[in-house]
Symmetry: C2
Subunit: 218 residues, 2 copies
DNA sequence: GTCTATACAACGATAGAC
DNA sequence: GTCTATCGTTGTATAGAC
């Protein structure tokens, strides 16, 4: 609420103290995890002081929630949008989203994968409120991917379960990123994505040869 | 080294102090994560005292490595063996392994998923030595699953890439467990597994009909 | 190998001046 | 809203008697 007003009132000036704190916390949580990142570290890197941080965020958990809220807002401009621009064909756009995570692994030498996945495993048991926000992040991802799948449905059998496919893509991506980061190798990621590709190719095959006239348009 | 002697010398008596410490640490790391678990908590729950713990494990990281070593030894008796006994058909045995994780999610109300996956994301960036042991755990899992796939290769196309399939199963399982734990719901897990089932069914279809006349059967 | 006592740094969080 | 100073606790790890 105050948040939106700030975004309007400060169109293109330097970021507010609050935003610097959230962004810094996001970066540190991403790289080191939630528990391994101390408040003092966030203060030092952001240049803010403890009085300011605790003015905005009464507890560390509140700061985590602001970070997760920011991730929700970054999904479109940072993940989905760029992926859409990198590919023109419907099915390629789906895999362009996955490829985005590979680019991140590459750019960070396997340090950074999916920030939501990291936090999901670390805080789900102990922090119920952030856990709900993590669900919303996953929901947003699957919503977007579902849309991409729908746009590609011409190449899929008419009875394809799109929700199921979106869940499969998210599950496999999360696991593949986990393995790549652990092995410090693209191989498990690439193999997983390739296997998904084959699955989609099989579906395409079924979609074009199976049904009756259905998708004989052009 | 001393480890094996102890196992032989104490066939069925109560566990050694060392073993109690490792097992307790394993349970706490599993439920709470590595960073969120304090040494004092391990000492309290195991009944050991700090002098004993630091006698065996000079640092907390050394204890983590002993835990990861124990996981390697538990893979067969706790994961693969039971799965093999729960199913008789080759392909069913593969999915019985995945189902084992569902049973664990169910038994723990979604608190516990895959212990290796949890630790992988939490410590890979900061703890190189444990990271190597996590790789060995993943390797062991994929070795076992690869064997299960080979045993089922009669139902698969002859050119099936078995390694790739094993990686896909691990990636998807890890992601599916992550989502189930986050949502506190079986749905993402079940949907992911169902999608994998469909992938295997497609492969079976190709395996039996392919060889010659493409897919013009029936 | 096991126990008690404790060192010392880092943690999350607070108080109060400005 | 920002700053400094600091509280009380917990963190990992040690020392030394037995």
């Amino acid at each position: 609420m105050v948040h939106y007003i700030e975004m309007i009132d400060q169109p293109s000036t330097e970021p507010s103290t609050r935003d610097r704190i959230v962004t810094t916390a996001r970066e540190l949580f991403f790289d080191q995890g939630y528990n391994a990142t101390g408040i003092s570290e966030i203060l030092k890197k952001s240049g803010a002081h403890s009085g300011s941080l605790y003015h905005y965020f009464p507890t560390k958990e509140d700061l985590l929630m602001a970070v997760l809220q920011q991730y929700k807002e970054l999904l479109q401009p940072m993940v989905i949008g760029p992926a859409r621009e990198r590919a023109s064909q419907p099915i390629d756009r789906i895999f362009a989203v996955l490829h985005g995570y590979r680019l991140l692994l590459e750019a960070t030498d396997f340090r950074l994968g999916c920030p939501i996945g990291n936090l999901a495993l670390e805080v789900s048991n102990s922090h119920p409120a952030p856990r709900a926000l993590i669900c919303e992040n996953f929901d947003g991802w699957m919503d977007q991917v579902r849309t991409l799948i729908e746009e590609a449905s011409g190449s899929l059998p008419p009875d394809t379960d799109i929700d199921r496919l979106a869940v499969l893509l998210l599950s496999t991506m999360e696991g593949a990123v986990m393995l790549a980061r652990t092995y410090r190798s693209f191989e498990p990621f690439d193999q997983s994505v390739l296997a998904l590709r084959e699955h989609f190719e099989q579906l395409s095959l079924l979609g074009t040869t199976w049904s009756k006239p259905k998708n004989l348009e052009k």
